[in-house]
């Protein structure tokens, strides 16, 4: 479980934002969780709240919004598009990918042309959609 590490990155990020903007309260943060990182939402939410507490970050309960994001791939060679659901992924591979999503390029090739030159259009991992501080 590295949800803690990811949550800590977000918490420190919020802390810097507050400082920079001379703000005292987190009003809203939208966090997208790309499926490749297999983030356990409950563990992540728990870690984030715990860290906000440790760093004395004020926020309301509805401030944190987590949104799931499906994984979508597109081949740069042939243009084919596919999603993670189209693939069978065994547990050990899912485990490897959840640390460093880029290693998908080691385990999968384009289902149409076999190329490894494809891009992860979305669903890579944690990204921050919007933050409001006051």
């Amino acid at each position: 479980m590295h949800e803690w590490a990811l949550a800590d990155a977000v918490a420190r990020y919020v802390l810097e934002l507050l400082k920079e903007n001379n703000a005292s309260r987190l009003e809203r943060i939208i966090i997208r969780l790309g499926v490749l990182q297999s983030i356990d939402k409950e563990v992540f939410m728990f870690s984030l709240r715990e860290l906000f507490r440790q760093y004395n970050i004020e926020y309301s309960d509805e401030a944190i919004v987590l949104i799931d994001e499906e994984a979508l791939f597109r081949c740069r060679r042939c243009g084919y598009t596919w999603s993670l659901n189209d693939l069978e992924v065994d547990e050990a591979v899912r485990e490897a990918i959840h640390f460093i999503p880029e290693v998908v390029h080691s385990y999968f090739t384009c289902p149409r042309c076999g190329s490894r030159d494809f891009e992860v259009v979305k669903g890579r991992g944690l990204t921050i959609g919007e933050v409001v501080v006051k």
Binding site: M1, H2, A5, Y13, L17, A96, F99, I100, V103, H105
Partner: protein
């Protein structure tokens, strides 16, 4: 502070590297000059001398430090605990993307290399570490640029051979590094039975310390993967000499 720096991972990286004493990066824009052997053996030598040392392989699309040190990547893995904790092998905290790519091919565009490096650096918990040795790929692209941007106060050891093709290449790299004020510890001349004039001249011209030469060692290839064998080589003894100079 600009927006670029406000990637949460960049903030996490600063935090995760904060207990590292010295970050030493082995670099050359030419391939095959010995960067991987040198970085692996430096880590080994520092570890055997009692320092706490980490080895980070940032040759993302062609990692090979694990081969030099004979690390079985399928039986040994980083532990996942509030991030990842590098396994300690021969006393070295070792981290490489092969733990996750499993020695399969890993072809990545530059932006993907940048992402992978940011992720690796952000989630790794090195703990208190006196020396972090970083192996890097040839070329001057995302890996080298990321190393200089994300690592804290990286200090660089350059590697070259006396071949005319390596010389031009190392000169370009020196200009590149000096322009942005990077700290260069010095230069190692590999596969040279004694210091050569052209490399000495480069060191003088650019005011860089000549750290030593490593002779051509025809036994080194047979020892790859076996550290007891490695420790008996002329290559390893040369590395020990260089380590004594810089620590």
């Amino acid at each position: 502070m600009t927006n670029i720096e406000l990637d949460p991972r960049i903030i996490a990286i600063r935090e995760s590297l904060k207990d590292i004493g010295n970050t030493i990066v082995i670099m050359s824009s030419k391939g095959g000059v010995g960067k991987t052997l040198i970085s692996s053996l430096m880590a080994l030598s520092l570890s055997l001398k009692g320092s706490s040392v980490g080895l980070l392989d940032l040759d993302i699309t062609n990692p090979s430090c694990h081969l030099v040190l004979g690390i079985n990547i399928s039986s040994i893995k980083p532990i996942e605990e509030k991030g990842i904790i590098p396994p300690i092998i021969h006393g070295i905290k070792f981290l490489s993307i092969v733990f996750y790519s499993e020695d399969k091919p890993l072809s990545l565009r530059g932006s993907e290399i940048d992402y992978a490096i940011k992720e690796l650096l952000a989630i790794t918990r090195w703990g208190k570490t006196s020396y972090l040795i970083v192996d890097s790929p040839p070329g001057i692209s995302d890996e080298a640029l990321d190393i200089l941007s994300y690592l804290i106060d990286p200090r660089i050891i350059l590697v070259t051979t006396p071949s005319p093709l390596s010389i031009k290449s190392i000169e370009r790299m020196i200009v590149f590094l000096k322009d942005s004020g990077e700290k260069i510890i010095g230069l190692i001349e590999n596969m040279a039975n004694k210091p050569t004039n052209p490399i000495n001249k480069i060191c003088r011209d650019y005011n860089i310390q000549y750290l030593g030469n490593i002779p051509f060692d025809k036994y080194i290839d047979n020892c790859i993967g076996d550290i007891n064998c490695i420790k008996t080589t002329l290559f390893y003894r040369s590395i020990e000499g260089i380590i004594n100079k810089i620590t």
